[in-house]
Symmetry: C2
Subunit: 336 residues, 2 copies
Amino acid sequence: MKHITIADIAREAGVSKATVSRVISKSNLVSEKTTSRVSSVIEKHSYIPNVLAQGLAGKPTRNIGVIVDEFPNNFYIDLADGIDKVVSANNYTFQVMSSQWEPARELEGVCSMLKSRVDGLLITPLSSNSPAVMELEKSGIPFVLVNSKSEDPDVSYVCCDNYRGGALLAEHINSLEHEQVIIVSVFDHETVRDRIRGFEDHLCSGAVPIIRYSNAKTYRDGYELAPTVAEYDSIMKKKTSLFVTNDYVAIGFIARFLEMGISIPRQVTVAGFDDIRLSALCRVPLTTVSQSVCEMGRTAAEYLLRLIKKNSRSPLRKLIEPYLVIRESTTKKTSE
Amino acid sequence: MKHITIADIAREAGVSKATVSRVISKSNLVSEKTTSRVSSVIEKHSYIPNVLAQGLAGKPTRNIGVIVDEFPNNFYIDLADGIDKVVSANNYTFQVMSSQWEPARELEGVCSMLKSRVDGLLITPLSSNSPAVMELEKSGIPFVLVNSKSEDPDVSYVCCDNYRGGALLAEHINSLEHEQVIIVSVFDHETVRDRIRGFEDHLCSGAVPIIRYSNAKTYRDGYELAPTVAEYDSIMKKKTSLFVTNDYVAIGFIARFLEMGISIPRQVTVAGFDDIRLSALCRVPLTTVSQSVCEMGRTAAEYLLRLIKKNSRSPLRKLIEPYLVIRESTTKKTSE
DNA sequence: CTGTTAGCGCCTTCAC
DNA sequence: GTGAAGGCGCTAACAG
């Protein structure tokens, strides 16, 4: 079954294609009579204009692209939710791709989006100067970086103020008693580095030693690293403050500590970062820093639409203020 | 800055547009020499063919549409992950929309997808005969229902076998001691109805009363409904088995019960449905039925691609087998 | 207000 | 093997 085209409508309504086109785009230089006649024919056949043709003929596609690291991730759903809210409210649609953390796939994704002629692009880049971002700059298409910053004064971005988040946490931890501080960082990403910098810059360590671990990425990693950390740093003997730069991993630590009979927060306090849903509801609710990912999505989408519409060359940027959420993993309400 | 077109490439390579087109589509009736010459020009300008034009000229867009209820939802991320895996492996892209549970938006979504000429559509419909699905049938475009079944013998779908899931749970609960059973159903959806039917059909109630509540949708709802349920049905006195048709809500119940000092599973056992991540890690790990949403996504996407490629008119359908996950909320390892 | 005329960038016959 | 020509469905001047 062939699609109905504008020509069919025009013929049946006894007007020219141009007139039909005008009716569709609500250009108000068509008489009311013709408008209603044409409209009814459109209605009757439930005719839907072909976006491809519209796009080819120069109209914006009203479709934006979104590239994320991966889907199975709390970060992504909140982001998608935020984006969806503003995008759909503005009668735009969006398509998504995941880079699976591979620069090559990320670049491919950008190319793919580019060739489907999206009006603009949102991307959580692997790094602020990944090939994908370079390609984007070259293309001249409006885009905004999400969850990443950029040195380049021309690029727009929306990111959590991770440095500040780390600082908030440090201030809280300063108020706790401890004989050592352990920092476990997840993968190597600018956001994570900022968290740690903020944390270290504001920690009143005094004579207290700081111990660092890196590269724990998952719940499982935390779960498995816990005994090593516990034994090697003899946390049974020294009261310890543990900062894990990602909630999921932190929760893995907690789970294992509990199994090992290590009391939280009495012997060890644990703090995370992100405030995923789980953090409030897990065995020992987790003290963490909340970054409003949904707001990040909303803001980024708004910025992008603004760039698209006004073609405003001035870059738009925002650091979203994180806030501290104190729960039982660092305060002594319970002890298990 | 104008986009480079096929004509530019043709001119620079000293061939016709047709030849360039052939090179792009890897049609092998072009001499190797011309191929490499053209390719290098394409490379040099990093030329990307315009998908809109290609689509207009009759080629498939290799873009499929996905319509879901809402994004901020564990179900969605797993689904997206599954879809992404097969879609990207096949060099397709996808765009997403959410219905926000409103039939009107759902229909709009379908229309929007249709007009952007997606090659096919995946949808988790509000109901198997919602206007959106009707529209889809009319359109003749390949589509498959996800998380929904259909009476219509022509419609393809992939769904969890919710009836079976309910049955599995009933069998487990039959083995527990109790003096009453309480069923709390979340919103009115065919999948939820199936869960309850399966549950009730396989419950050996005997003389044990079954009490029903409905319309608890969120964690909060569970949390707030708990005291009422506890008091009204005097669960302090009667050993109770509680089945909540959705994990999130079940976890809300558990949280409140604990606060009220009601011991789980000693006094009340709680079972859920879905097996979201949280269920394994919350205060009292939740017995539940796992439906592999990721697999659902994968299967659905595979079916859709098959429909698109072979234009196979035979509908493809599958009920995915759920399985029971028994945890502490129904067994007596802990007691709090 | 409305119709006519060109394209938009690409693919696909059909000839050579 | 390769080129020329027509058309995909629509919009945007330009005339009337």
